[in-house]
Amino acid sequence: MVEKCIKGRVWKFSDNVDTDQIIPAKYLVTGDRRELAKHAFENVRPEFADDVREGDIIVGGKNFGSGSSREHAPRALLGAGITCVIAPSFARIFYRNSINIGLPLVECDVDAEDGNVLAVDFEDGKIVNADTGDVYTFPPLPDFLMKLLDVGLIENTKRKLKGTNG
């Protein structure tokens, strides 16, 4: 189950963060979250892997997660303890992958700096920047995706298989 409200510290990124930046190709020899997390953002923010804390939030620019289809990218972020990624727009495969494996994404243009604390309410579609006091709203995910995020693709598929197999 994904939490309905979270609070976390911000890591700020710019536009077009691609999956090669999130997890460089040379580490694509495992699917293990924790292992992948050790190399997250290695080329662009070498301090990330050491300094990231459970519950942190990523605030990106437009087209976050562009590039390859590697599910290793959202897996690495989950492995690093990231609980939510907020960006004005996402690349579509990254979007699908994240929802499928239970990493919540929020489409919203938020002003925040490294270290700011954000509170995100997924149900009400509200973000508060505790440092600046600014409040942002976003349309919650469509029902279908909300359920998928909640249950997870794996469980969802199991249920489907049971249904069709009687």
Partner: protein
């Protein structure tokens, strides 16, 4: 309905769909490669599914021949999975090549089909009139188990290119020109459809280059209405039947873009985004490596375009040129046409099919500060090696001309010099 809308409607068993609607659709093929395969196999086991859909394709291409023990284990997991579930469509080293080229060559891709692959450039098969798109590993596993997947119906943008292309201007230049115009998120979540006299006159390989790079504009797919070029290619090749799908006269497009082919030059995308496009003639940069290959431009037509320039010439002494035909059959054809001889006489290094250098995996990785002119599709930070190396994207003729001079060069300038 547009082509993408129609294909989704047909596969969802509906008479019509509209953009942004979420549908469950039946898929015709699902493909994974050696990198995205392993996580998919692990997830598949969790389903405890009683069977796997027949239309599963497994292709070893990213890190094969294995570059180290970890990649060897990864490749082995694919072999074992193929054995356990008796998957005939498993292309191992020596029998296949770069996944998208294999999907096309072996007749999996065909008009009207809905194909998913755990690789972002799965959009390549749009050149044959299919709706094909990249997905993640977990959902590839889900598709293998259920034969279905959820899709959000995309909005469609129409791109019309008319007129005659100049010498050495290829499909690569058309798509780079378009991405330069609309940007790397210009088609985010959308379907690109390509029309016009220029597109119709293109050989299939150039069309594949265009569809291949639709993802570089953020698109879900890049579809070209199929014609005789496609039907002829598929004769004696395609597996099963297929039904071409075309857009209705009254289709609704999100946007329409028009281009004049005469204004499109040989283009180069500078680091670190495919949208940083300038004409090759306007850029003067020294290079250390020239790479010809990949699912974007590793076909026989690309080999011919480069060989035409390299014939009787030498690669500049300060440059390494690497040539990687995208598949076994491209390699064989290049041998038959004696193109491999041309490359080797020019001092290029020729290797068997693999993704290798294209994603900075192995075999052609760049050192700090090095620059590569490349026929591939991505020039992201560190894409082909060190984070401070640089990749310039161009068509095969520009790659070859640049290899000869040691600087990024428009082949048209090479002729006059």
């Amino acid at each position: 309905m547009t082509i993408a809308e129609k294909i989704l409607a047909i596969h969802a068993g509906k008479s019509s769909v509209s953009p942004k609607e979420i549908v469950d659709a039946r898929i015709d093929y699902v493909m994974v490669n050696d990198v995205t395969g392993l996580p998919a196999f692990e997830v598949f086991e969790e389903f405890k599914a009683s069977s796997i859909i027949e239309n599963t394709v497994l292709i070893q291409d990213h890190y094969v021949p294995n570059k180290d023990v970890a990649s060897a284990e990864q490749a082995k997991s694919m072999r074992e999975f193929a054995g356990k579930y008796k998957i005939g469509n498993h292309f191992d080293v020596g029998r296949g090549g770069v996944c998208h080229q294999i999907m096309i060559e072996h007749g999996f891709a065909a008009p009207g089909r809905l194909i998913v692959g755990a690789d972002s450039h799965t959009c390549s098969y749009g050149a044959l009139g299919a709706l094909s798109t990249g997905i993640g590993s977990s959902e590839a596993a889900s598709a293998m188990a259920t034969g279905e997947l959820w899709f959000k119906v995309p909005e469609t943008q129409k791109f019309v290119v008319d007129g005659k292309l100049g010498k050495y201007v290829m499909g690569k230049d058309i798509i780079l020109h378009i991405i330069g115009d609309i940007g790397v998120s210009g088609s985010l979540y959308k379907s690109m459809e390509f029309y016009g006299s220029t597109i119709e006159s293109l050989q299939l390989s150039d069309r594949i280059t265009i569809s291949n790079m639709a993802i570089e504009a953020g698109a879900k797919c890049g579809i070209i209405p199929p014609d005789d070029a496609v039907f002829n290619y598929l004769k004696n090749r395609v597996i099963g039947e297929y039904t071409p799908v075309y857009a209705d006269e009254a289709s609704e497009y999100d946007d329409t873009f028009e281009y004049n082919a005469g204004e499109i030059e040989t283009m180069v995308a500078k680091p670190h985004l495919p949208e940083n496009v300038v004409p090759a003639s306007e850029i003067d940069v020294e290079i250390d490596q020239a790479y010809l290959g990949s699912c974007t431009n590793g076909r026989i037509e690309d080999m011919r375009a480069a060989a035409e320039i390299l014939k009787g010439r030498k690669v500049h002494p300060d440059v390494r040129m690497i040539v990687v035909p995208a598949s076994k059959s491209v390699f064989e054809q290049a041998l038959r046409e004696r193109l491999i001889e041309v490359f080797m006489d020019a001092d290029a290094y020729v290797a068997g099919p693999t993704c290798g250098a294209c994603l900075g995996g192995y075999m052609g990785v760049l050192a700090e500060g090095e620059r590569c002119i490349s026929s591939t599709n991505r020039n992201f930070i560190g894409r082909m090696g060190h984070k401070d190396s640089e990749v310039y994207l161009a068509n095969p003729a520009v790659v070859a001309a640049s290899a000869v001079t040691g600087r990024i060069t428009d082949p048209n300038d090479l002729e006059s010099s």
